[in-house]
Amino acid sequence: MKKILLALILIQVNLYAEGIKELGIKTNFYDKSDTYSAIPYLYFAEKITFLPDLALYAAARASLDIPKNERDQVDPREFYLKLSGNHYTVETGLQIFNWGETFGVNILDLVNPRDYHEFIFDDLTWSQIPVWSAKLTLNLGELTFIPIYTIKAEKTVYPTADDYFDFVPESLKSLERIDTQKYKAFKNSEYGFKLNYLFFNNLDLSLIYFNHYNRRANFVVRNGKLYTENSRIQSYGITFSYDYASLIFRGDTVQSQDKIQAIYGVDRNFNDNWVVGMQYHLDKQVDKSWGSFRVKKELERIPLTLAFMDFFGLDNDDFWLRPEVSYNAKNGITYQILADLFRDDNRDGMLQVFNEKNRISVKLNYLF
C-alpha cells in the first residue's frame, strides 16, 4: 500500500514538474539460460528555486522487477537544499557523490555504497545508494575544499542466492545470509573531504580522505550461516586529470586497509567524432591487474553512436567485451542495445563468477 501511494505521488510530481522526466525499460536476455529480466522505470529530477541563492533538488525513481516482482521499488534518489554564496555552496539532504576521474569501476566513489542486485558493472549510478549528508564547497581561488559529513552510514546491498549475478562462491550459496549490524544516525556517521587544486599548467589534482565502513563486507561462516561483517576503515585517495595537446590523462588511486587500488588512463577526441581511450587497473587487495580499451564513434548524418569496450586481465584470465549501439531519435526516445561477453573458462580472474553468463541488454528510454 505504501509503495502504491508513493508511486501515485511520483506520477503526480512527474505530470507537473518541469525538470528531467524519464520513462524507460531495461531488458536483459541471458545466454545458456531461460532467465530474462525486464525493469520498466519512471524517473524524475527537479530543481525548485526558492530564492536566487537557495534551491531544492529532488529526484525519485519507481521501478518494477519482472518477472520476480520481489524488488518493485519507489526510491527517493535525491532530496537536498543547495545554498550558494559568492565563494561557497552548502548542500544538505539526501545526496549522491561521485569522485574520481577514470571510467568504469569508479574506485574513488567512496561516499555512497551500492546495490549489487543487478549486474555488478551495469549502470553504476543506478546502483548507488543515496545518503543523508551535508557538503560544503569552499572556493579559495584555485583551491577548493569540500568536507562531507554523512549522518548515518548505509550498507552495501549484496545479491541474493537466486540472483543471476550473485558473487558468493558456489560452495556457500546454500547458507542462510545474516546481517546483524544496525547503523544509527550520528553514532554510525561517516565523514571526509576532498581538496582540489587546479595548477597553472592545467593539472587538476585532488586529495581525498574518507572515514567510513567497509564497502566490501567480509563474509564469515558461523554456525552454518553466512554473516556479513562491516568494519570501520579509512581511505586515502589521489585523483588527477591533465590535458596535453587534446590528450586527456586521468588517474585515480585509493588506499584502504593498507591495500592500493589504482586506475590510470589516457583518452583522445578526434575531429571526426572518434573517441579512443585506454586504462590500466591495479587492485592490490586481490593482487591482480587489468587493461581496458574503449572506442566510441558518433556518426554525423544520423544520431547513432557506436561503442566498444574490452577489459582484460594482464596477469589473470579476465576477459570482457562490450559492443554497444545507441540511437537518439528526435522525439526524445533513445534505443540502446549492448552485449556483455565473458570468457567461459576463467579460472583465476575477478570475473570468473560470470563464466557462461553472457547477456544481451536492450534499453529504451523516453525523456520528456
Partner: protein, 228 residues
C-alpha cells in the same frame, strides 16, 4: 564642422597603420564585451537544434548550461583557462574534456566557451586590400580549439567577416562566416556564425546569439565541483 571631423576620423582610421596585434584586439572587442556577460546561443545543425545558456566571467571562466535538446538537459560545461569539464547527468560526474571536442554539429566546445583570440593566438598580417586585412593566427600553445586560423577583418570597423580554421599542418577544417551584426551588450556585434565543414560542402552549423547582456556572477558558479 561635424561632417569634417567625421571625415577626418574616417580617413585617420582608413589610413592608419595598425599592427596585427591591434587589429586582433579590436576584432576581439567587437565579438565580446570585456566585462562578464551572459548570452543565450542556439546551434542549428543538419541533425539537431541545441540551445545553451552561456555565462562568461572575465577572460578565462565560462559556464555553459544546456537547455535543449531535452535529453542533454543538465549536461553543463565549465571552462577555466584552457581546462574544460562536462557534467554528465546520468553518470552524475564531471568529466575532463578537450576544447576541440564536438559540442553540436560542426560546433566545438571552444567555439562557444572561448570567444577571444588575443592571448591564445599570435597574429600576423598575411595580406590586405582596400576593404580588409587577412590575418594569420598561430596558437600560442597546444590544446586550444584550433591550431591555426585565417581571419578576414574589415578595415572600416574591425568587424570579423569570415575565417578558415586549420589543423597544425595547415589543412582547412572549417569555414566560418560572421554575419547579422546587430546591437548587443552595448555595441554592434555579429549575432550569427555559420560554421561549415571545409571538406564536406553543405555540412554546416549555424550558431545564433539570441541574447547577450553584461552581467556579473558569483565565483561559486564557476567551480567544477558544483556543476550539477
Amino acid at each position: 564642422m561635424k561632417k569634417i571631423l567625421f571625415l577626418l576620423c574616417y580617413l585617420n582610421l582608413a589610413w592608419a597603420n595598425f599592427s596585427a596585434d591591434e587589429i586582433l584586439k579590436r576584432a576581439d572587442e567587437i565579438r565580446n564585451p570585456s566585462e562578464s556577460f551572459f548570452m543565450q546561443v542556439e546551434v542549428v545543425s543538419n541533425s539537431d537544434t541545441s540551445l545553451f545558456d552561456v555565462y562568461l566571467q572575465g577572460k578565462d571562466k565560462t559556464l555553459i548550461k544546456t537547455v535543449l535538446p531535452k535529453r542533454d538537459l543538465g549536461r553543463n560545461m565549465l571552462m577555466l583557462e584552457d581546462s574544460m569539464w562536462i557534467y554528465i547527468p546520468n553518470l552524475k560526474r564531471e568529466v575532463r574534456v578537450s576544447l576541440n571536442q564536438k559540442l553540436s554539429g560542426q560546433t566545438a566546445n571552444g567555439d562557444i566557451a572561448r570567444l577571444r583570440w588575443v592571448g591564445d593566438y599570435t597574429p600576423t598580417i598575411e595580406s590586405e586590400d582596400r576593404e580588409s586585412w587577412m590575418l594569420n593566427l598561430n596558437a600560442n600553445r597546444k590544446g586550444l580549439t584550433y591550431d591555426k586560423l585565417k581571419l578576414v577583418i574589415a578595415k572600416k570597423n574591425f568587424w570579423p567577416k569570415s575565417g578558415t580554421y586549420l589543423t597544425v599542418s595547415g589543412k582547412p577544417l572549417k569555414l566560418v562566416q560572421f554575419t547579422e551584426y546587430k546591437e548587443m551588450a552595448g555595441a554592434t556585434r555579429p549575432s550569427k556564425l555559420i560554421i561549415e565543414d571545409a571538406l564536406k560542402t553543405g555540412d554546416l552549423s549555424t550558431l545564433t546569439i539570441k541574447t547577450m547582456r553584461v552581467e556579473s556572477f558569483k565565483e561559486s558558479l564557476f567551480n567544477k565541483n558544483s556543476l550539477q
